[in-house]
Each structure stands twice: as C-alpha cells, then as structure tokens.
C-alpha cells in the first residue's frame, strides 16, 4: 500500500526516511495483527466477530440422525453444499425463534444477492430435545420460518455423538420455579440451555467456522460469501 516508489518524488531524504518509517510501522502492525488474529482470519479478511474460523476444520461425525420427514440424516447429507447449522428446540420460547428468524433472513438475502451460492447452501435445524420434539413438531416449527429449512433430530446418544465433537452442548434444566400448587409432575416441564452459535459446515462436511451471536442477517451473508469465495479460490 504505502510503498516508497508509489510516493511522489518531490521530497528529498527526509521524505524517504518518513516513508521508510511508515513502511516499517505498517510491517510491524501487520506482523502483530498476524500474531493477534492468526492465519485464518488474516487470510479471509472476514470479521471474526461475525464469522469466527475454527483453528482447524472438524469433520462431522457420521452419526445416524433423522430428518423431520423420517429420513436418515448423516454426515453424507452435508456433502456437496455449504450448511448453516443451528441446534435448539421447538419449545424454546425466546431465543430459538430469533435464531430461526436469522436463518430465514439469511436465506432470503442469499437468494437475492448471491443466487449461485444460495443454490448450494442448505440450512439445518437440529432439535436437541427429541423427548418432546416429534417430527411433526419440528416440521411445524421450521415451516413457520421457512419450509426450506431442514429439520432433524436423533436419539439422545446420536445427538451427543454428533454435536459434542463440534463443541455444541446443551443441558436440561427443570422448570423448578413453577408454582408448586400447579405442579403436575409430568417431567416434561423443562428448559434446555444450549449453544447459541450458528455453525458453518463446508461442502466436505467439515465444520469450518461459527457465527457467534448476535446474528445480523446481512453481516452473516457478507461474511459467509466472502469466506466461501476465499476458501473455494484457495481451498485449504
């Protein structure tokens, strides 16, 4: 950027010394930002606050999940396209609707702005609450936001095997604060604390990056598009 030869030559030594000092300063800044942000974010120039690359790709475990249509769903279903992946549950009252709403909007914006990429991007919602989330519930939930969103779940063991290598976790928490006089002891009154991030999986079924909260649809689309271009021009 600031190269001595690109500067006008009207100055003498003082100007050159200043230019040299600027170059040294820029090099130092570059080196320190390399140290600070690592090779991945530097290579992609994607804002890590929007899309944070994993230190290394993580292969999706080949675990038998099942879609909301009752079809088997595993790592093979992630191959050949990019995937935005979110874990939650349909009874999630406040945050999941916001995240599914973000997935809906990201789909719309991708369609408008990058139709070729949209055509090879799927959005997947995996319920971590198979005890209550029937296929129908999951389908009704995803369809409310966007029928194109694929819903899936699995046995607790399969979900655990699929999600924990990806750093995704959840825990059931009994809704113990409910009024004791109104307790029915159904055992089904609980909330699920769960990971908030949306995961980005590449067409080789590897987790590559995560979108931390907050999930602004346009920044997500920009970051995803940029990241995908960088990766597919210079695949790692």
């Amino acid at each position: 950027m600031t190269h001595p030869h690109s500067r006008p030559r009207r100055r003498q030594h003082g100007g050159i010394a200043l230019a040299a000092a600027i170059v040294v300063a820029l090099l130092a800044l570059g080196a320190s930002s390399w140290w600070l942000f690592g090779p991945d974010s530097r290579a992609t120039a994607v804002d890590p606050a929007v899309l944070k690359p994993m230190p290394a790709p993580i292969e999706l475990p080949d675990t038998a999940l099942v879609t909301d249509e009752g079809e088997p769903f595993g790592a093979g279903d992630f191959e050949g396209q990019w995937t935005l992946l979110y874990f939650g549950y349909t009874l999630c009252p406040d945050v999941c609707p916001v995240e599914l709403g973000a997935l809906r909007q990201v789909g719309k914006l991708l369609e408008e702005q990058h139709p070729a990429l949209a055509a090879r991007t799927q959005r997947v919602f995996i319920s971590v609450d198979p005890e209550r989330d029937t296929h129908k519930r999951i389908r009704d939930f995803t369809a409310y936001f966007d029928p194109a969103i694929i819903g899936a779940t699995g046995t607790p063991a399969a979900l655990e095997a699929f999600a924990s290598p990806l750093g995704v976790g959840w825990s059931k928490r009994s809704n113990h604060y409910r009024d004791p006089s109104d307790r029915e002891e159904t055992g089904k009154d609980y909330l699920v604390d769960h990971t908030t991030a949306i995961l980005l999986v590449d067409p080789s079924a590897r987790l590559r990056a995560v979108f931390p909260t907050p999930h602004g649809p346009q920044p997500m689309v920009d970051a995803f598009h940029r990241y995908q271009q960088e990766q597919e021009d210079h695949p790692s």
């Binding site: 349909t90 009252p93 609707p97 916001v98 709403g101 909330l191 604390d193």
Partner: protein, 145 residues
C-alpha cells in the same frame, strides 16, 4: 389494591397506549407471534419511570395462559439460558426495556393459539401494589415480515 372502577378506567386508557399510571409509562408493548408449536409467548415493552424513586415490576398476569412469569434471557460462555426474575427494576427517572434476548414477560402454557392481530390483556403489578392492565397486540417479529 386498586378499585375495580379504577382498573376499568386504566383498561379504557389502555386502548390509547401509552398507558400512564403512577409515573410508570408503558410504551411499545407487543407480544411476539410464535410458531404453532410454541408453549409460551413473550411480551416486550419499554417501562418508563418518571418518579424520583426506583419502581419494580413484580408480577404480570394474562388470561388464557397457565401462568405468567418475568424472565430474562442471558448468554453465558456461548450458552443461552433463560432465568426467572423476581422483579424487574425501573430506575428512578429512567427506563427499562423488555426486548428479545433480554427481559420479557413470559406467557406460559398457551391455551388457544394467538396470531398477529390478536390482543392480549396483560396486567402488570408493581412492588408498591399499583396495577395496570393494557391490551397488548400480537405482532409478527420484524424478520417474519
């Protein structure tokens, strides 16, 4: 306690939001339309306190739900969780926003599905015993428009 007549008056006033009573004003109250699977709905609003003392919202009620609670969504170490609040404070001469991802009034156990355009009468009770009832419209979230 508030007399039924005063409550009625407050309800009538509620038709013309914002509702003012005892220095707390409720603005922009809405309930987010939810997927048909929802077991609960969340109500959001801005509570403004013109008084020189802190006020506390301690209870909310609404017909047609099993129970109503004050909640806050928080994110801790990348995990989301929702916590019940005993009260939501509104600072003296300040305001507190109930908004998605933060404080909200949780309407739990939906007895009849609600759609955008419906109205839910929500009664708020403050620590000093004051109550107000306001009709809160059900609206689609911005991203559903």
């Amino acid at each position: 306690m508030i007399s039924p007549r005063r409550l009625l008056f407050a309800t009538a006033l509620g038709l013309f939001a914002p509702v003012a009573l005892a220095e707390v004003t409720v603005n922009d109250a809405w309930v987010a339309e939810a997927p048909p699977t929802a077991m609960a709905l969340a109500a959001f609003m801005t509570l403004e306190n013109d008084a020189d003392v802190e006020r506390k919202l301690v209870r909310a009620e609404a017909p047609g739900f099993d129970r109503v609670e004050l909640h806050r969504s928080i994110e801790v170490n990348g995990m989301h969780r929702m916590e019940r609040q005993d009260a939501i404070a509104i600072p003296a001469n300040g305001s507190t926003r109930l908004a998605p991802g933060g404080y909200h009034v949780m309407l739990i156990g939906v007895q009849t599905p609600r759609r955008a355009g419906d109205e839910i009468p929500v009664t708020l009770t403050f620590a000093d015993g004051e109550t107000m009832t306001l009709p809160v419209p059900v609206k689609r979230r911005d991203f559903m428009k």
